[in-house]
């Protein structure tokens, strides 16, 4: 695909004819297959293991082959992490641990372009997002927690905070390397060792991260990466040799994990689904609000747990907002994720595409009105056009259930209290957006929204210093900042 854009001309814009601007994939050299990263080395899967291929969802081309780790492999990885914890990592001073994390942060920065390309190839997200959002945040996250490693006594969790031991970490496919950073950086800073399982469809950058651990001379066993699918993840979180489970993914799996760890001493943090309301009042700065709505739900193809998937717009401006939104969506460029001008990349997998199709079909069947900009989809790969549903009510499944795709449901309200009631009418509580010029209304809404992150006159902002996590069925615990350390320490 190098140098050859998937689409020769922009699909969604009639205004501009951009020349193709593909990022080179030559910065990434992938091996034909990868082993498991256990005890500091890449090793073959043991008895009972299998293998599977990871593909580029934009082309369906095979990128490489990885191991499907068996429960025996999980045992090995946990044993390596335990040994590293007992013999090395728990005995090392915070100052020295921190320096390893600083090294990792620097190596991530040095290899940022390569990692961004690998992420886009494996995940399907536009290169401008992996390059400008994912990778800078990954490096920043390691930088942030590197500095905590020797300051834990000042973090407010008691004068002698202690590490937990071995952490089982299972991460999703929407921000593969960023979720790895959110998990590994605080765990290591607090003095724990980890066994991490990347998502089945996006193992690539985690395996490249394993190389970075080697480059940083991180002691063997401090970080172990095992690839696999659900069964591997289940074997990991249920393993009796672990002290902590950190999971990001679906609410359904999160509940299964909460049941599985019941009655144990395992500490758990869960970062799960969402159905965020993005609330636009009639006095909102409209141009910014339109950009915020677009960023809120079409960023990363809507594969974002905190996506602003329910647009609540004040009735008096609803027609104008929907009109402006549709005009803006017509300028989005869907296509080759490696093209630097691409706004909307590929859906991560055929399975996910099927889910999005099923949910949007239900939206139509239940009476909501579907709209998408005119949009030719590439013949190969997994694609879904940005989609807006109007005439949506709170009873519609597309307003209640997480779709995890580029699909927006538009609802209206008349008063702030009605907006609040509708916004909170969900079992989820991860994030919310408020757009208004009135300061006191921002603060009142922020106070009453039952969500872990509230973006006022902005949306989808992330920072390693800013705690992230949900209320209600969006999970428990926080990641990021001082709050994120709590998940990895005994007070």
């Amino acid at each position: 695909m190098a140098g050859k854009p998937l689409l020769s001309k922009p699909v969604l814009s009639k205004h501009w004819e951009y020349a193709p601007a593909p990022e080179s994939r030559s910065v990434v050299s992938l091996l034909p297959s990868y082993g498991l990263f256990i005890d500091g080395a890449f090793v073959d899967g043991g008895a009972g293991s299998g293998s599977f291929k990871t593909i580029n969802p934009a082309t369906e081309e095979v990128l490489t082959e990885v191991v499907e780790a068996s429960s025996a492999d999980v045992d090995r990885a946990v044993a390596a992490a335990r040994k590293a914890y007992t013999r090395t990592w728990s005995k090392m001073s915070g100052r020295e641990r921190g320096k390893y994390l600083f090294r990792i942060a620097r190596l991530v920065q040095e290899r940022a372009r390569e990692l961004a390309v690998a992420e886009t190839l494996d995940n399907g997200k536009p290169i401008k997002e992996s390059r400008d959002v994912d990778l800078p945040l990954v490096a920043a996250h390691f930088f942030h927690y590197a500095g905590w490693a020797d300051k834990l006594a000042y973090a407010g969790f008691g004068p002698n905070p202690a590490s937990l031991g071995v952490c089982a970490q299972v991460i999703p496919w929407n921000f593969p390397l960023l979720m790895l950073a959110w998990k590994i950086a605080p765990a290591l800073a607090a003095g724990n060792t980890v066994v991490l399982k990347p998502a089945e469809t996006t193992p690539l950058t985690a395996l490249l991260f394993a190389e970075i651990c080697q480059q940083a001379d991180l002691p063997p066993g401090v970080v172990n990466i095992i690839t696999g699918a659900g069964a591997t993840g289940q074997a990991l979180v249920e393993h009796p040799g672990i002290d902590k489970v950190a999971f990001t993914g679906s609410t359904e799996v999160g509940k299964a994990i909460a049941r599985a760890v019941a009655g144990t001493d395992k500490k758990v943090t869960l970062e799960l689904g969402g159905k965020a309301a993005n609330i636009v009042f009639d006095d909102a700065p409209m141009d910014q609000a339109i950009e915020g709505i677009v960023r809120g739900v079409f960023f990363n193809q809507g594969h974002v747990c905190c996506a602003g998937t329910r647009l609540l717009v004040q009735e008096s401006v609803a027609d104008d907002v929907v009109k402006a939104l549709k005009r803006r969506l017509k300028t989005l460029r869907l296509g080759d994720p490696m093209d630097k001008n691409t706004d909307i990349g590929a859906i991560n997998s055929a399975v996910q595409l099927g889910r999005i199709r099923a949910m949007t079909d239900i939206g139509e069947a239940e009476g909501a009105e579907r709209w998408s900009p005119k949009c030719d989809l590439p013949a190969r790969g997994f694609w879904y056009p940005p989609t807006v549903f109007t005439g949506v009510t709170q009873a519609h499944r597309i307003a209640r259930e997480e779709i995890f795709g580029p699909v927006l449901s538009v609802l209206t309200f008349r008063t702030p209290k009605e907006a609040l009631e509708k916004a909170n009418n969900t079992p989820y509580g991860l994030s919310a957006g408020v757009w208004t010029d009135k300061g006191s209304r921002i603060l009142w809404m922020s106070q009453h929204l039952r969500a872990g992150v509230v973006w006022a006159n902005t949306f989808n902002q992330f920072d390693p210093a800013s705690p992230f996590g949900g209320y209600k069925e969006s999970g428990y615990g926080r990641e990021g900042g001082r709050h994120g350390l709590e998940a990895y320490l005994h007070g």
Binding site: A140, G156, G158, T251, G254, K255, A256, A258, R259, A262, G263, L270, L272, P427, I442, S446, A451, G452, V453, V454, W455, A456, N457, T458, Q461, D463, A465, S466, P467, F468, G469, Y471, K472, E473, G475, Y476, R478, G481, H483, G491
Partner: protein, 288 residues
């Protein structure tokens, strides 16, 4: 010769939505003292009582969580004041329930009153300790504040009938949560007296709902209740595992069972409060 006075015996009831109803089931059970002698009948709460208590706690949540921290502190301090006035009754209750000598029971009551004072002082300080501004790398003002989780079910310790009970109820409501509390099965009466104190201490009805009876019967209904946000399994003992599994149905925040020999006289720390708090982070752009 004066006629001997017939004493007035008390029917112990539930404390639910600020009122003192009998169990809707009409059931009661015998409470004995530490030597097995009959003391009184207490209400044996049912599944319906537990569900009614959740409704009352949910109704009380907006008002209590929306009260100022200063106001909540005043109310909690008032609880201590009113307890002080009824200390003789508490000492007698604890003597009977836990079989303690008068002096030991008296020090339990002292510690229980002091615990309310301790938590009264926390209400307007915790946000500064666990929240704050976050230095993000961009032109944004970003801050995090703790907020109450919502309705919290509390299974009180079985063997510390007053100090243990206060130690699990006060931290839950100090931060603005409302509570459904299952008191110790065998030692419910200090809790009943505490409920009478709460009812006369400006604690709004429904903020604390106290059910006497058998937690083994009622706790499963609270653990699986979809309108309960969190559960403290403190006194659940071996039932804790099944309750924790049930609590996963709506991802309740779970505080696991405390060890039976927990020292309730030690300074509690802030875990009992932070276990039932959510962190909310708010972003706003900076600009002219």
């Amino acid at each position: 010769m004066a006629e001997p006075r017939i004493d007035v015996r008390k029917t112990h009831k539930l404390y639910l939505g600020g009122k003192f109803p009998r169990s809707e089931s009409g059931r009661s059970y015998e409470v004995t003292d530490s030597r097995g002698r009959f003391v009184a009948n207490a209400a044996l709460a049912s599944r319906k009582d537990a569900r009614d208590a959740v409704v009352a706690a949910r109704a009380a949540f907006p008002g209590w969580s929306g009260a100022t921290a200063y106001n909540r502190g005043q109310v909690l301090y008032r609880v201590a004041e009113v307890m002080e006035g009824r200390r003789e009754q508490f000492v007698a209750d604890v003597c009977a329930a836990e079989g303690l000598a008068r002096r030991a029971a008296s020090s339990v009551v002292d510690a229980s009153i002091d615990r309310w004072v301790w938590y009264a002082g926390w209400t307007d300080k915790l946000a500064s300790v666990v929240g704050g501004a976050n230095s993000v790398a961009g032109p944004y003002f970003n801050f995090s504040v703790p907020e109450p989780t919502g309705v919290v079910a509390v299974i009180a310790p079985q063997s510390s009938s007053l100090l243990g009970l206060v130690s699990v109820v006060a931290p839950v409501i100090a931060t603005g949560n409302t509570a459904v509390v299952l008191s110790s099965r065998s030692m419910p009466l200090p809790g009943v007296t505490l409920a009478e104190v709460l009812a006369t201490s400006d604690v709004p009805g429904g903020v604390v709902n106290l059910l006497t009876g058998d937690p083994a019967e009622t706790a499963p209904w609270l653990a699986s209740h979809m309108d309960v946000n969190a559960i403290d399994l403190c006194g659940a003992g071996a039932d804790g595992l099944a309750l924790e599994v049930a609590a996963a149905d709506n991802l309740k925040r779970v505080r696991r069972p405390q060890e039976a020999d927990h020292d309730w006289t030690a300074e509690p720390g802030i875990d009992a409060m932070t276990s039932f708090l959510e962190t909310k982070t708010v972003w706003h752009p900076l600009g002219l």
